[in-house]
Symmetry: D3
């Protein structure tokens, strides 16, 4: 089934399918003539697909489990402008036989390789205390594991497993090549600030078969969480070295985290007040917008229009043809 | 000098003065005819007063020290709508002989008594972990000392020594009488939230003869600092008790601190999402506005107008006559 | 049927029902196979429920009257995430046999008792003219009757019969206990201002089986209407007493009414310019937010999530677990 | 002195003056060498002029009265970019000998003639009740007298005696010629709405030698005051005719008054919801902007620049040369 | 069929239809019992109508072409508050036999006559260069043809063939009668500015059977396009006359175009800085709002309510009864 | 005088000066005792310095010419917190003997070298039509000369001769190194867009001894001017090559120019709708903020404070110590 899989975002009306889906939800309903039918939502990593099975029985219904896998035979059709699947036959499929990567969105790049490249860039940092601080973060296995799995955002950009590392690496790559152009910047602060700026996302969002906010994510948020981590890891460094961690370094790293959204309206309790905070703010935004625009172009379902549909976060539709003049 | 002192905010043009002032700054200047004169700023706890001493000498100038005290004889006059003092004679005055309370603005209430009343109200809290958390805060002598000295804000409300305690107590008193009206609220969260909401002001502002922001105050801010303190004190409680401090309690207390400004525009990274955060937000604002309006009425210099001058923070002038119909 | 009634907001899919509903609307439609079916909306005081009756006839359709009552037997099911009812049988039900309280939302408290408590609080007012003014309002039987029936808002808070009195009483209770904490406030203005602040809602909204805006409510609004009433009632007092009603008292009461929304954006033509206007603004908001948050928690249909769904008026989801640590 | 008068807005440095001014304020001060001098502000209807009299005596000072008139001989000079007058000699001047028109800004048009033209336009109204309502307004001599004296605004547009009538007439003239272009509009509502829209300014502002807000003007505002007047005058009509004044007409006229600022931010508690309210909103704005731009061009003191200085209310500088291509 | 045509906005449930429609889209779908049905959207110039044809065949489906015409027999019914049509029989209809005016919205006025009246008004312009500039625009046949077909906006106002000319003429008529009231305005700039202000709409929007943005319309916009045209046509004039076109005239005409939306938020890169720009801004808005309100009243489907439904662009519902007191 | 010059921004009170200044303005005034003195403003490229010359004569006054150079001997002093110079003696100085670079602010980098580096980067562009377009711009000697002299802004960033080239080059350098990180971007559009984005500044601002807006700059603005230039140069290319310039390329380049301010509020009539527009928007902002923050730190006069004064454009004070941890 592997190479032949038809992903949800590739489907067109009129296809005949014979493959496995993840079940998101299911309902047993009465038809107008008194019979039973099943309405359910199937999914893979590229999207969701409403489906119907006519002439259902309770037995069939019970064999379909929410969050379980289902082998389906059926046919796609257009229903009020949306795709739906008419299921002809189905049977449960064992979770240990599926390739999870087909069902959960993950970065198209290797997370471990990206993580190593990110650490490589951080090795350019010279400040002793910041290097010790990084060490504390990296030694926190639980944190690192969560970071590697974390998306960069719920929906806006890089919303997939490994997205946080991919986004952070992109921003770090940008900073690395821009720092020679702005030599008066404190490169150590810039690089460490980039490492930290969205790190809290790993605890704000819980990534499994779906991305959700954690309670603490909604009540406290990734910005404050990362600022607290800096305080905690710096205390560990101080304890280990036996000398106080420089307060100014803590203040500036926390300032960068707090101000990186750039404006109050987006949840930054402080506005950037050092050049290093500004460059991180702009590169963070730049990478997010590069994802959002290029992703919108790739994902746009309507081949005939030269613009994507309206994208609320950009307050515009995106023109799809700038790649080729 | 005690009872006879004329405070800066009481002065009218044409008074003859013979008393001590705090020197804020001083300048030696050339008159148009080539002579020397001294321009300086004198102050007490109620305000600042520009002053001139004609026919000055370098010796007189050197006897006047910035941040020192000066015994002055002279006469007030109106200069372009502002009061100024023409100094006839002056001599340095020993700092240890002055009553500091005349020169630094302090709460009109006894700080220790207000602190005790605040702790009394906190004793109504029943949650074991929050009680342990309060204990950690109260045992932090350095913090408590800073809190007792701290103003509640730079300028907006309660900008004087003891202002933070006065404001916090007012809000706690309000909550205490309102809680029976809203019995579904978690009283423990409300009272502890009030205790914490502005606590970071004690580290955001440095209060001496003048109120200023600390570096950390500007870079990180009182909201994030207080959220970090909750994390640290809760860790101390956990260490002491040997059992984890409930995460949910930490989340909710930090949420209350983070959201108490109510809107992003005023530096809250989170909006209130529990009823307890809302009541603290409104009572905090209410007490600030009660101070600002009644203080504006008392401080208004223009006896004939029925309105104060325009107050930017309120976006209006305040009507002075609502007290009596 | 009384105690056994299943209210709309209690229903889950799969229930069998045998009880009376209020009919909101009804449609006779053609099925795909050419038969007839009825689509209608049933309601009680807690919400609305879409319903279907298959194999309908014109006779059945004619027996179902919009705004009439209908005895229904049927079964609930989930349809695309929303509940709907499949009607097996139905017959009209006489309006004089139903308990109207089951179908129209009313305050859970006794309106007359709340009104008496409100008047009790107003009796603390000492100003002679304001007392005469209250008398004129209370003697206006038509107005008082409308006030007692009025909700406090269309949807946002206390949207039910008696809601205006319940909300006004809550705010008055709060003011009563806070006034001793802010003794410089003019208590008479505060209490009378609270009585008046939303009084115009009784003419802005028409409350029957549904809450709607009146024409005058939409064109003129409750704020201006209440300001006009003050003018009219004061003129009646003046006529009765033969001496002019103090202009300043009229000005200040109208100012409190006009400014109680606190910002222009919410329809206040004036910003609060006296402390008494500020406290009313904050207590009004406080009570509304207490209702909105606690109501959102109680009404949230999704038992598994720790947050309610997004509430536009609060710009956030509400955390449901702050009541218990 | 009449035709030779040099008005304040015509003066250039280096002029010798010998004429009467209105005294706004005065101060007796000590020079650095111990002598006395007088600092005062002189004015005519075109502006204010700071002035100095060196080598003053108490006798001279006492002969200069605030709000009195003063015959002055002296010379203008530039002082830090502003004009000031060095007084060589002065003597009090009897108020009954001056032409008040030189000292208080008045409309350049005849107020009585403008008022008559305005009433002429109102005579086109056909609705019986609105005609009776106008009659009640016109019979209110005190109100009409205040209206004729009133400016249209504090500073923004037509800030002079007769300004309210001039502005209202301009808007009425515009409406008169536009109504045939939009025949579906209710012309009676439009014309009466224009008459009423700023009528409250006559009670919001007190116009004497200077324009100020009244207490009621600041606390309640011209919008609500005019809405109340409509209610009162309509009640008088009803009493006189013995039949109720149509509620709908009251609602719509009040709606027009309440909504004529067009947005909440400018103090309208309601947004325009009928076409008649929209046309009044735009014509009101149009006439104000025509005044502001053409007045800014005429008043601009800097002959060399092609733009006026920045005008905050317009958020721009105004280009002075559009009159001639 | 001509006079008997029932337009979409006239239909009520339960009508039997026998007439031609334009087909917007079509779908072939499976019923729950395995049969086929067609879901399509029919349209005329007044709106769209969803339709169903049960018991369909592939042959019937293929006879229905998107953007083709279809003769339909069927019956209307209400489906969830919206009208739909149940098709009993249908057959394709030749495009050359239909009256296109029934299917594409056009101005109710004669476009050629409106264009002539507009040119008549422009003949009042005296400035030689502006007259030459107009000539260049009018000689551009392609442009003029596009202008005559163009709507004035996508949806907001005058969204039909000829709408741009109708709107521009209305604004010109208003200016013509207002100019005598404001004689200091440069009438040539006002009239030419009105001609130009929305001219770019003819290239921003592509009007056929539906109004859409062109690529250049979305990327560059009508404001900048019209500013460029002024530059190009002025260059043609200069070339023809052999003398430079006055720069100032170009600057002012472009300024009027750029600033006519009045605020940055609506896409004006410059704010009005001359009185002529202000009057055009207000008259443009006035005419748009006159259309929007009167059209909303006419189009409102709900005869019983005294208000239209909420209109987002006006931020309010419109009261329908102001025409008659 | 060269190496010994004391620049205005280096001066402290009490210095004795003997050097040349540029005269900005001058006044002859009367002292209180009847004598004459001169008040004037001296300047060099780093700022302005108020100066006084006591015991003046008309002859001395006439020897001082606005916009001329003056050799001055005198002494600096502090006057109300600002520096001023007391002139003891002065004489005119010939303009051809001064080093103009001391008096007019210029880029610290070589403008020609920067221009060459910018052209070098543009040579990476591959698109034939864009290359031809660049050629047309570069061949426009008048334009290129104006560009090389132009500042990048009035005050905000790079406000000096050569500032436009310096800023444009910085942005181009950034893009050059970032393009490999975002390979899907159209590099030709990005590089050409950067070249064009602020090019209009060269006609919006007139740079001489002071930076001012031109009339066309204020009325039309640099954004629209550059869009027009693209149209004109593309027409020249088309004429030269005999084939039409691709419309899409024009649209996209104009779109980038129009949208580069990123939000309507800053004068962009279009929001970015292609990824290339986004990267230019962010890099433009980044370079401006890098200048503003590092310049604010360097220019801050107060050595003791760790923060600069409040910077309105950044809505914050800037922390000066991030360079060193």
């Amino acid at each position: 089934m592997e190479s032949k899989r038809r992903y949800v975002n590739q489907l067109v009306p009129g296809e005949t399918l014979d493959q496995v889906f993840l079940v998101r939800d299911r309902d047993l309903r009465t038809t107008k003539s008194g019979g039973l039918y099943i309405s359910c939502t199937l999914a893979d990593r590229t999207g969701m697909l409403p489906a119907r099975l006519w002439n259902a029985t309770e037995a069939i219904f019970n064999s379909i489990q929410t969050d379980g896998f289902l082998h389906v035979k059926g046919r796609t059709e257009d229903y009020k402008g949306n795709m739906q699947l008419i299921i002809d036959a189905c049977r449960p499929f064992a979770a240990d036989k599926v390739d999870l990567g087909e069902f959960i969105a993950v970065s198209e790049f290797d997370v471990e390789a990206m993580w190593e490249e990110l650490l490589d860039i951080l090795r350019e940092i010279k400040d002793k205390h910041i290097r010790l601080l990084i060490k504390k973060f990296i030694e926190d296995r639980e944190l690192v594991a969560a970071v590697k799995k974390s998306p960069a955002a719920m929906q806006m950009h890089h919303p997939f497993v490994g997205g946080l590392v991919e986004h952070t690496l992109n921003v770090a790559r940008c900073a690395k090549v821009l720092l020679p152009i702005y030599p008066s910047l404190n490169a150590d602060l810039v690089l460490m600030g980039i490492f930290l700026h969205d790190l809290g996302k790993s605890a704000e969002l819980s990534a499994g078969t779906a991305i959700n906010y954690t309670d603490r994510g909604q009540l406290v948020g990734h910005i404050t969480m990362a600022a607290i981590w800096v305080q905690q890891k710096a205390a560990q460094v101080a304890e280990e070295t036996g000398e106080p961690f420089p307060q100014k370094t803590i203040d500036l790293l926390q300032h960068i985290i707090l101000s990186h959204h750039g404006v109050y309206e987006y949840g930054s309790p402080k506005l950037p007040a050092i050049p290093e905070a500004y460059i991180i703010h702009y590169l963070d935004n730049l990478d997010a917008k590069m994802y959002m625009t290029t992703h919108a172009i790739q994902a746009d379902p309507d081949g005939e229009s030269s613009f994507t549909s309206y994208i609320r976060a950009l307050e515009t539709r995106v023109y799809k043809g700038s790649g080729q003049l």
